[in-house]
Subunit: 241 residues, 2 copies
Protein backbone atom coordinates (compact mmCIF):
# COMPACT_ATOMS: atom_id res chain seq x y z
CA UNK A 1 0.00 0.00 0.00
CA UNK A 2 1.70 3.22 -1.14
CA UNK A 3 1.19 5.86 1.53
CA UNK A 4 2.76 9.22 2.16
CA UNK A 5 2.59 8.66 5.93
CA UNK A 6 4.74 5.53 5.93
CA UNK A 7 8.05 4.86 4.26
CA UNK A 8 10.45 7.66 5.07
CA UNK A 9 12.49 6.32 8.00
CA UNK A 10 16.18 5.65 8.07
CA UNK A 11 15.22 2.20 9.37
CA UNK A 12 13.45 0.17 6.73
CA UNK A 13 12.47 -2.40 9.36
CA UNK A 14 10.49 0.30 11.17
CA UNK A 15 8.64 1.20 7.95
CA UNK A 16 7.81 -2.45 7.48
CA UNK A 17 6.47 -2.76 11.03
CA UNK A 18 4.18 0.25 10.64
CA UNK A 19 3.01 -1.02 7.28
CA UNK A 20 2.27 -4.43 8.79
CA UNK A 21 0.09 -2.84 11.48
CA UNK A 22 -1.96 -1.04 8.82
CA UNK A 23 -2.14 -4.07 6.53
CA UNK A 24 -3.31 -6.34 9.35
CA UNK A 25 -5.95 -3.78 10.37
CA UNK A 26 -7.26 -3.65 6.79
CA UNK A 27 -7.39 -7.46 6.68
CA UNK A 28 -9.30 -7.48 9.96
CA UNK A 29 -11.69 -4.83 8.61
CA UNK A 30 -12.20 -6.83 5.40
CA UNK A 31 -13.14 -9.85 7.49
CA UNK A 32 -15.80 -7.89 9.40
CA UNK A 33 -17.13 -6.47 6.13
CA UNK A 34 -17.58 -10.04 4.94
CA UNK A 35 -19.24 -10.95 8.25
CA UNK A 36 -21.66 -8.06 7.90
CA UNK A 37 -22.43 -8.94 4.26
CA UNK A 38 -23.11 -12.53 5.30
CA UNK A 39 -25.12 -11.59 8.40
CA UNK A 40 -27.47 -9.29 6.46
CA UNK A 41 -27.97 -11.81 3.64
CA UNK A 42 -28.43 -14.66 6.12
CA UNK A 43 -31.08 -12.77 8.09
CA UNK A 44 -32.99 -11.56 5.04
CA UNK A 45 -32.91 -14.96 3.29
CA UNK A 46 -33.24 -17.06 6.49
CA UNK A 47 -29.99 -18.80 5.51
CA UNK A 48 -28.99 -20.61 8.71
CA UNK A 49 -25.77 -22.11 7.30
CA UNK A 50 -24.52 -18.65 6.34
CA UNK A 51 -25.45 -17.26 9.78
CA UNK A 52 -23.49 -20.07 11.41
CA UNK A 53 -20.44 -19.14 9.32
CA UNK A 54 -20.62 -15.61 10.71
CA UNK A 55 -20.73 -16.87 14.30
CA UNK A 56 -17.89 -19.31 13.60
CA UNK A 57 -15.62 -16.59 12.17
CA UNK A 58 -15.83 -14.43 15.31
CA UNK A 59 -12.70 -15.95 16.85
CA UNK A 60 -10.70 -14.89 13.78
CA UNK A 61 -11.66 -11.25 14.42
CA UNK A 62 -10.64 -11.64 18.06
CA UNK A 63 -7.32 -13.19 17.05
CA UNK A 64 -6.65 -10.26 14.72
CA UNK A 65 -7.41 -7.82 17.53
CA UNK A 66 -5.01 -9.41 20.02
CA UNK A 67 -2.33 -9.89 17.38
CA UNK A 68 -2.44 -6.27 16.15
CA UNK A 69 -2.69 -4.94 19.71
CA UNK A 70 0.50 -6.80 20.67
CA UNK A 71 2.25 -5.74 17.46
CA UNK A 72 1.46 -2.07 18.24
CA UNK A 73 2.58 -2.42 21.86
CA UNK A 74 5.82 -3.92 20.59
CA UNK A 75 6.36 -0.98 18.19
CA UNK A 76 5.71 1.51 21.01
CA UNK A 77 8.11 -0.30 23.36
CA UNK A 78 10.98 -0.87 20.91
CA UNK A 79 10.71 2.02 18.44
CA UNK A 80 9.40 4.75 20.72
CA UNK A 81 7.75 6.50 17.78
CA UNK A 82 7.07 10.23 17.77
CA UNK A 83 4.80 12.64 15.87
CA UNK A 84 2.88 11.10 12.98
CA UNK A 85 4.32 7.60 13.62
CA UNK A 86 2.98 7.68 17.17
CA UNK A 87 -0.40 8.91 15.91
CA UNK A 88 -0.47 6.09 13.37
CA UNK A 89 0.11 3.43 16.04
CA UNK A 90 -2.52 4.96 18.34
CA UNK A 91 -4.97 5.23 15.44
CA UNK A 92 -4.52 1.53 14.70
CA UNK A 93 -5.01 0.69 18.40
CA UNK A 94 -8.22 2.71 18.64
CA UNK A 95 -9.59 1.47 15.32
CA UNK A 96 -9.15 -2.25 16.05
CA UNK A 97 -11.30 -1.73 19.13
CA UNK A 98 -14.12 -0.42 16.92
CA UNK A 99 -13.61 -3.11 14.29
CA UNK A 100 -13.77 -5.85 16.93
CA UNK A 101 -17.11 -4.46 18.13
CA UNK A 102 -18.36 -4.40 14.52
CA UNK A 103 -17.57 -8.12 14.32
CA UNK A 104 -19.51 -8.70 17.57
CA UNK A 105 -22.50 -6.80 16.22
CA UNK A 106 -22.49 -8.72 12.92
CA UNK A 107 -22.49 -11.87 15.02
CA UNK A 108 -25.47 -10.52 16.95
CA UNK A 109 -27.39 -10.12 13.66
CA UNK A 110 -26.54 -13.69 12.66
CA UNK A 111 -27.46 -15.09 16.08
CA UNK A 112 -30.81 -13.31 15.98
CA UNK A 113 -31.70 -15.47 12.98
CA UNK A 114 -30.38 -18.64 14.62
CA UNK A 115 -32.46 -18.06 17.77
CA UNK A 116 -35.58 -17.06 15.80
CA UNK A 117 -38.84 -18.89 16.49
CA UNK A 118 -41.06 -19.50 13.42
CA UNK A 119 -43.55 -16.95 14.74
CA UNK A 120 -40.80 -14.32 14.99
CA UNK A 121 -40.13 -14.11 11.25
CA UNK A 122 -40.66 -10.57 9.92
CA UNK A 123 -42.68 -10.12 6.71
CA UNK A 124 -41.10 -9.30 3.32
CA UNK A 125 -41.59 -5.53 3.61
CA UNK A 126 -39.85 -5.54 7.00
CA UNK A 127 -37.00 -7.68 5.66
CA UNK A 128 -36.59 -5.24 2.76
CA UNK A 129 -36.21 -2.40 5.27
CA UNK A 130 -33.42 -4.31 7.05
CA UNK A 131 -31.79 -5.11 3.71
CA UNK A 132 -31.72 -1.42 2.72
CA UNK A 133 -30.42 -0.26 6.11
CA UNK A 134 -27.89 -3.10 6.23
CA UNK A 135 -26.43 -2.19 2.86
CA UNK A 136 -26.23 1.48 3.78
CA UNK A 137 -24.27 0.51 6.91
CA UNK A 138 -22.04 -1.89 4.96
CA UNK A 139 -21.30 0.81 2.40
CA UNK A 140 -20.40 3.27 5.17
CA UNK A 141 -18.08 0.73 6.81
CA UNK A 142 -16.38 -0.03 3.48
CA UNK A 143 -15.85 3.66 2.75
CA UNK A 144 -14.54 4.30 6.29
CA UNK A 145 -11.92 1.60 5.68
CA UNK A 146 -10.96 3.13 2.32
CA UNK A 147 -10.48 6.51 4.02
CA UNK A 148 -8.22 4.72 6.51
CA UNK A 149 -6.26 3.02 3.74
CA UNK A 150 -5.80 6.36 1.94
CA UNK A 151 -5.36 8.24 5.23
CA UNK A 152 -7.59 10.91 3.75
CA UNK A 153 -9.29 13.23 6.25
CA UNK A 154 -11.57 14.89 3.68
CA UNK A 155 -12.84 11.49 2.60
CA UNK A 156 -13.24 10.44 6.25
CA UNK A 157 -15.41 13.50 6.98
CA UNK A 158 -17.65 12.77 3.98
CA UNK A 159 -18.14 9.19 5.19
CA UNK A 160 -18.66 10.24 8.83
CA UNK A 161 -21.61 12.40 7.76
CA UNK A 162 -23.40 9.33 6.35
CA UNK A 163 -24.11 8.23 9.93
CA UNK A 164 -27.09 10.62 10.02
CA UNK A 165 -28.88 8.64 7.29
CA UNK A 166 -28.34 5.44 9.26
CA UNK A 167 -29.79 7.06 12.38
CA UNK A 168 -32.85 8.02 10.33
CA UNK A 169 -33.25 4.41 9.12
CA UNK A 170 -33.01 3.28 12.74
CA UNK A 171 -35.62 5.77 14.01
CA UNK A 172 -38.03 4.78 11.23
CA UNK A 173 -37.68 1.03 11.84
CA UNK A 174 -38.10 1.45 15.62
CA UNK A 175 -41.23 3.60 15.16
CA UNK A 176 -42.69 1.03 12.75
CA UNK A 177 -41.89 -1.84 15.15
CA UNK A 178 -43.55 -0.13 18.11
CA UNK A 179 -46.59 0.73 16.02
CA UNK A 180 -46.90 -2.84 14.69
CA UNK A 181 -46.71 -4.34 18.21
CA UNK A 182 -49.20 -1.85 19.61
CA UNK A 183 -51.75 -2.68 16.92
CA UNK A 184 -51.34 -6.44 16.96
CA UNK A 185 -49.80 -8.44 19.79
CA UNK A 186 -48.92 -11.29 17.39
CA UNK A 187 -46.39 -8.81 15.94
CA UNK A 188 -44.27 -8.68 19.12
CA UNK A 189 -41.90 -11.44 17.97
CA UNK A 190 -41.08 -10.06 14.50
CA UNK A 191 -41.02 -6.47 15.72
CA UNK A 192 -38.52 -7.23 18.48
CA UNK A 193 -36.32 -8.94 15.89
CA UNK A 194 -36.40 -5.83 13.72
CA UNK A 195 -35.63 -3.68 16.74
CA UNK A 196 -32.60 -5.76 17.78
CA UNK A 197 -31.19 -5.93 14.23
CA UNK A 198 -31.74 -2.23 13.55
CA UNK A 199 -30.01 -1.41 16.86
CA UNK A 200 -26.99 -3.57 15.94
CA UNK A 201 -26.76 -1.93 12.50
CA UNK A 202 -27.06 1.54 14.00
CA UNK A 203 -24.17 0.73 16.37
CA UNK A 204 -22.04 -0.48 13.43
CA UNK A 205 -22.69 2.93 11.86
CA UNK A 206 -21.42 4.56 15.07
CA UNK A 207 -18.25 2.46 15.06
CA UNK A 208 -17.67 3.29 11.38
CA UNK A 209 -18.03 6.96 12.30
CA UNK A 210 -15.44 6.44 15.07
CA UNK A 211 -13.00 4.98 12.52
CA UNK A 212 -13.45 8.14 10.42
CA UNK A 213 -12.73 10.26 13.52
CA UNK A 214 -9.53 8.27 14.09
CA UNK A 215 -8.47 8.94 10.46
CA UNK A 216 -9.00 12.69 11.01
CA UNK A 217 -6.93 12.45 14.21
CA UNK A 218 -4.19 10.67 12.27
CA UNK A 219 -4.09 13.27 9.49
CA UNK A 220 -4.73 16.42 11.50
CA UNK A 221 -3.36 15.62 14.96
CA UNK A 222 -6.53 16.54 16.83
CA UNK A 223 -8.90 14.34 18.84
CA UNK A 224 -12.22 15.24 17.16
CA UNK A 225 -14.45 12.74 18.99
CA UNK A 226 -16.86 15.40 20.24
CA UNK A 227 -16.51 18.05 17.54
CA UNK A 228 -19.50 19.65 15.86
CA UNK A 229 -19.87 19.32 12.10
CA UNK A 230 -18.61 22.90 11.58
CA UNK A 231 -15.56 22.28 13.78
CA UNK A 232 -14.80 19.08 11.86
CA UNK A 233 -14.98 20.94 8.56
CA UNK A 234 -12.60 23.58 9.88
CA UNK A 235 -10.05 21.00 11.06
CA UNK A 236 -10.19 19.07 7.80
CA UNK A 237 -9.80 22.24 5.71
CA UNK A 238 -6.67 23.25 7.63
CA UNK A 239 -3.42 22.56 5.82
CA UNK A 240 -1.28 20.13 7.79
CA UNK A 241 -0.28 16.50 7.89
CA UNK B 1 -2.84 7.73 45.78
CA UNK B 2 0.00 5.47 47.00
CA UNK B 3 0.76 2.90 44.35
CA UNK B 4 3.61 0.48 43.85
CA UNK B 5 3.44 0.92 40.08
CA UNK B 6 4.13 4.64 40.09
CA UNK B 7 6.79 6.58 41.89
CA UNK B 8 10.13 5.03 41.19
CA UNK B 9 11.61 7.08 38.35
CA UNK B 10 14.71 9.21 38.46
CA UNK B 11 12.51 11.99 37.05
CA UNK B 12 9.94 13.10 39.60
CA UNK B 13 8.15 15.07 36.89
CA UNK B 14 7.51 11.82 35.03
CA UNK B 15 6.03 10.22 38.18
CA UNK B 16 3.75 13.21 38.55
CA UNK B 17 2.59 12.97 34.95
CA UNK B 18 1.71 9.28 35.27
CA UNK B 19 -0.06 9.95 38.57
CA UNK B 20 -2.04 12.77 36.97
CA UNK B 21 -3.24 10.45 34.21
CA UNK B 22 -4.51 7.95 36.79
CA UNK B 23 -6.03 10.63 39.04
CA UNK B 24 -7.89 12.24 36.15
CA UNK B 25 -9.20 8.85 35.04
CA UNK B 26 -10.50 8.17 38.55
CA UNK B 27 -12.18 11.59 38.63
CA UNK B 28 -13.78 10.86 35.26
CA UNK B 29 -14.95 7.45 36.53
CA UNK B 30 -16.37 9.04 39.71
CA UNK B 31 -18.36 11.43 37.54
CA UNK B 32 -19.90 8.59 35.52
CA UNK B 33 -20.69 6.70 38.76
CA UNK B 34 -22.61 9.78 39.89
CA UNK B 35 -24.33 9.97 36.51
CA UNK B 36 -25.38 6.34 36.76
CA UNK B 37 -26.61 6.80 40.38
CA UNK B 38 -28.64 9.81 39.27
CA UNK B 39 -29.95 8.16 36.10
CA UNK B 40 -31.25 5.09 37.95
CA UNK B 41 -32.86 7.15 40.73
CA UNK B 42 -34.32 9.60 38.20
CA UNK B 43 -35.88 6.81 36.14
CA UNK B 44 -37.27 4.90 39.11
CA UNK B 45 -38.67 8.02 40.83
CA UNK B 46 -39.67 9.84 37.60
CA UNK B 47 -37.46 12.74 38.70
CA UNK B 48 -37.13 14.83 35.54
CA UNK B 49 -34.88 17.48 37.05
CA UNK B 50 -32.36 14.84 38.09
CA UNK B 51 -32.50 13.21 34.64
CA UNK B 52 -31.79 16.59 33.07
CA UNK B 53 -28.72 16.98 35.30
CA UNK B 54 -27.38 13.68 33.94
CA UNK B 55 -27.84 14.83 30.35
CA UNK B 56 -26.27 18.21 31.13
CA UNK B 57 -23.15 16.62 32.68
CA UNK B 58 -22.32 14.60 29.55
CA UNK B 59 -20.03 17.28 28.13
CA UNK B 60 -17.91 17.09 31.31
CA UNK B 61 -17.26 13.39 30.67
CA UNK B 62 -16.34 14.18 27.06
CA UNK B 63 -13.99 16.95 28.20
CA UNK B 64 -12.28 14.53 30.59
CA UNK B 65 -11.85 12.01 27.77
CA UNK B 66 -10.20 14.45 25.37
CA UNK B 67 -8.06 15.97 28.13
CA UNK B 68 -6.76 12.60 29.39
CA UNK B 69 -6.28 11.32 25.84
CA UNK B 70 -4.09 14.32 25.01
CA UNK B 71 -2.19 14.03 28.30
CA UNK B 72 -1.38 10.37 27.53
CA UNK B 73 -0.35 11.17 23.96
CA UNK B 74 1.95 13.84 25.35
CA UNK B 75 3.52 11.35 27.80
CA UNK B 76 4.06 8.84 24.99
CA UNK B 77 5.64 11.48 22.73
CA UNK B 78 7.90 13.15 25.29
CA UNK B 79 8.72 10.39 27.79
CA UNK B 80 8.75 7.37 25.46
CA UNK B 81 7.79 5.08 28.36
CA UNK B 82 8.68 1.38 28.37
CA UNK B 83 7.51 -1.75 30.18
CA UNK B 84 4.99 -1.14 32.97
CA UNK B 85 4.91 2.64 32.36
CA UNK B 86 3.91 2.06 28.76
CA UNK B 87 1.27 -0.44 29.88
CA UNK B 88 -0.08 2.08 32.37
CA UNK B 89 -0.49 4.77 29.71
CA UNK B 90 -2.16 2.33 27.31
CA UNK B 91 -4.43 1.06 30.11
CA UNK B 92 -5.55 4.61 30.83
CA UNK B 93 -6.18 5.23 27.10
CA UNK B 94 -8.27 2.06 26.74
CA UNK B 95 -10.18 2.61 29.97
CA UNK B 96 -11.26 6.20 29.23
CA UNK B 97 -12.87 4.88 26.06
CA UNK B 98 -15.00 2.51 28.17
CA UNK B 99 -15.75 5.17 30.79
CA UNK B 100 -16.89 7.61 28.12
CA UNK B 101 -19.33 5.00 26.78
CA UNK B 102 -20.60 4.39 30.34
CA UNK B 103 -21.39 8.12 30.54
CA UNK B 104 -23.26 7.90 27.21
CA UNK B 105 -25.27 4.92 28.44
CA UNK B 106 -26.19 6.65 31.73
CA UNK B 107 -27.37 9.55 29.59
CA UNK B 108 -29.47 7.12 27.55
CA UNK B 109 -31.20 5.93 30.76
CA UNK B 110 -31.92 9.54 31.76
CA UNK B 111 -33.18 10.46 28.28
CA UNK B 112 -35.51 7.48 28.25
CA UNK B 113 -37.34 9.07 31.20
CA UNK B 114 -37.35 12.51 29.59
CA UNK B 115 -38.87 11.17 26.36
CA UNK B 116 -41.38 8.97 28.20
CA UNK B 117 -45.07 9.32 27.36
CA UNK B 118 -47.49 8.96 30.33
CA UNK B 119 -48.69 5.62 28.93
CA UNK B 120 -45.07 4.33 28.81
CA UNK B 121 -44.56 4.39 32.58
CA UNK B 122 -43.64 0.91 33.91
CA UNK B 123 -45.44 -0.33 37.04
CA UNK B 124 -43.83 -0.48 40.49
CA UNK B 125 -42.74 -4.13 40.22
CA UNK B 126 -41.01 -3.37 36.91
CA UNK B 127 -39.33 -0.27 38.35
CA UNK B 128 -38.10 -2.35 41.28
CA UNK B 129 -36.48 -4.77 38.82
CA UNK B 130 -34.62 -1.88 37.14
CA UNK B 131 -33.62 -0.51 40.55
CA UNK B 132 -32.10 -3.86 41.57
CA UNK B 133 -30.29 -4.38 38.26
CA UNK B 134 -29.15 -0.74 38.22
CA UNK B 135 -27.59 -1.01 41.66
CA UNK B 136 -25.86 -4.26 40.78
CA UNK B 137 -24.32 -2.56 37.73
CA UNK B 138 -23.37 0.52 39.74
CA UNK B 139 -21.69 -1.65 42.35
CA UNK B 140 -19.74 -3.52 39.66
CA UNK B 141 -18.59 -0.24 38.09
CA UNK B 142 -17.50 1.12 41.49
CA UNK B 143 -15.55 -2.04 42.28
CA UNK B 144 -13.94 -2.07 38.80
CA UNK B 145 -12.68 1.45 39.49
CA UNK B 146 -11.33 0.42 42.91
CA UNK B 147 -9.44 -2.46 41.28
CA UNK B 148 -8.00 0.12 38.87
CA UNK B 149 -7.02 2.44 41.70
CA UNK B 150 -5.33 -0.43 43.57
CA UNK B 151 -4.01 -1.95 40.32
CA UNK B 152 -5.03 -5.31 41.70
CA UNK B 153 -5.51 -8.12 39.15
CA UNK B 154 -7.06 -10.57 41.65
CA UNK B 155 -9.63 -7.99 42.62
CA UNK B 156 -10.27 -7.16 38.95
CA UNK B 157 -10.96 -10.82 38.17
CA UNK B 158 -13.45 -11.10 41.06
CA UNK B 159 -15.30 -8.02 39.80
CA UNK B 160 -15.18 -9.15 36.14
CA UNK B 161 -17.05 -12.33 37.10
CA UNK B 162 -19.97 -10.26 38.40
CA UNK B 163 -20.91 -9.53 34.79
CA UNK B 164 -22.66 -12.91 34.59
CA UNK B 165 -25.21 -11.85 37.23
CA UNK B 166 -25.94 -8.71 35.25
CA UNK B 167 -26.46 -10.73 32.08
CA UNK B 168 -28.95 -12.88 34.01
CA UNK B 169 -30.85 -9.77 35.16
CA UNK B 170 -30.93 -8.61 31.56
CA UNK B 171 -32.23 -11.91 30.20
CA UNK B 172 -34.95 -12.01 32.85
CA UNK B 173 -36.13 -8.45 32.23
CA UNK B 174 -36.17 -8.96 28.45
CA UNK B 175 -38.18 -12.20 28.79
CA UNK B 176 -40.66 -10.47 31.10
CA UNK B 177 -40.99 -7.51 28.73
CA UNK B 178 -41.69 -9.70 25.72
CA UNK B 179 -44.20 -11.76 27.68
CA UNK B 180 -45.99 -8.62 28.95
CA UNK B 181 -46.26 -7.16 25.43
CA UNK B 182 -47.47 -10.42 23.93
CA UNK B 183 -50.26 -10.72 26.51
CA UNK B 184 -51.41 -7.11 26.43
CA UNK B 185 -50.67 -4.64 23.66
CA UNK B 186 -51.14 -1.71 26.07
CA UNK B 187 -47.90 -2.94 27.66
CA UNK B 188 -45.77 -2.18 24.57
CA UNK B 189 -44.78 1.31 25.80
CA UNK B 190 -43.64 0.33 29.33
CA UNK B 191 -42.05 -2.92 28.13
CA UNK B 192 -39.97 -1.18 25.47
CA UNK B 193 -38.77 1.26 28.15
CA UNK B 194 -37.66 -1.65 30.34
CA UNK B 195 -35.96 -3.26 27.38
CA UNK B 196 -34.00 -0.12 26.45
CA UNK B 197 -32.95 0.58 30.06
CA UNK B 198 -31.96 -3.04 30.74
CA UNK B 199 -29.91 -3.04 27.53
CA UNK B 200 -28.07 0.15 28.55
CA UNK B 201 -27.34 -1.29 32.01
CA UNK B 202 -26.14 -4.56 30.54
CA UNK B 203 -23.72 -2.64 28.30
CA UNK B 204 -22.42 -0.69 31.30
CA UNK B 205 -21.69 -4.08 32.87
CA UNK B 206 -19.72 -5.03 29.73
CA UNK B 207 -17.69 -1.82 29.85
CA UNK B 208 -16.98 -2.38 33.58
CA UNK B 209 -15.76 -5.87 32.67
CA UNK B 210 -13.52 -4.29 30.01
CA UNK B 211 -11.99 -2.01 32.65
CA UNK B 212 -11.21 -5.10 34.76
CA UNK B 213 -9.56 -6.72 31.72
CA UNK B 214 -7.42 -3.60 31.26
CA UNK B 215 -6.34 -3.81 34.94
CA UNK B 216 -5.28 -7.43 34.41
CA UNK B 217 -3.34 -6.36 31.30
CA UNK B 218 -1.64 -3.63 33.34
CA UNK B 219 -0.63 -6.01 36.14
CA UNK B 220 0.15 -9.12 34.12
CA UNK B 221 1.23 -7.79 30.73
CA UNK B 222 -1.20 -9.89 28.71
CA UNK B 223 -4.17 -8.82 26.59
CA UNK B 224 -6.90 -11.02 28.14
CA UNK B 225 -9.88 -9.62 26.19
CA UNK B 226 -10.92 -13.03 24.85
CA UNK B 227 -9.65 -15.32 27.60
CA UNK B 228 -11.81 -18.03 29.16
CA UNK B 229 -12.45 -17.91 32.90
CA UNK B 230 -9.87 -20.68 33.51
CA UNK B 231 -7.23 -18.84 31.44
CA UNK B 232 -7.93 -15.63 33.36
CA UNK B 233 -7.48 -17.44 36.67
CA UNK B 234 -4.18 -18.87 35.48
CA UNK B 235 -2.85 -15.46 34.39
CA UNK B 236 -3.92 -13.79 37.62
CA UNK B 237 -2.35 -16.55 39.75
CA UNK B 238 0.98 -16.14 37.98
CA UNK B 239 3.56 -14.19 39.94
CA UNK B 240 4.64 -11.10 38.05
CA UNK B 241 4.09 -7.38 37.92
Amino acid sequence: MPNSKIGRHYSQAFDTELQQAVDRLLQMAALTQQQLTDAIAAFVEADHARAEQVVASDHRVNDFEVDIDEHCLDILARRQPAASDLRLVLTVLKSINDIERIGDLAKRVAKTLLEQADTDRPNQAQLDEIDVMGHRVLHMLQRACVSFERMDATDALTVLRKDKEIDQDYDRIVAQSISAMSNDSSQVGPSMQLFVIARALERIGDHSRNICQHVIFLCKGRNVAHFSDAELQQIVDKQRS
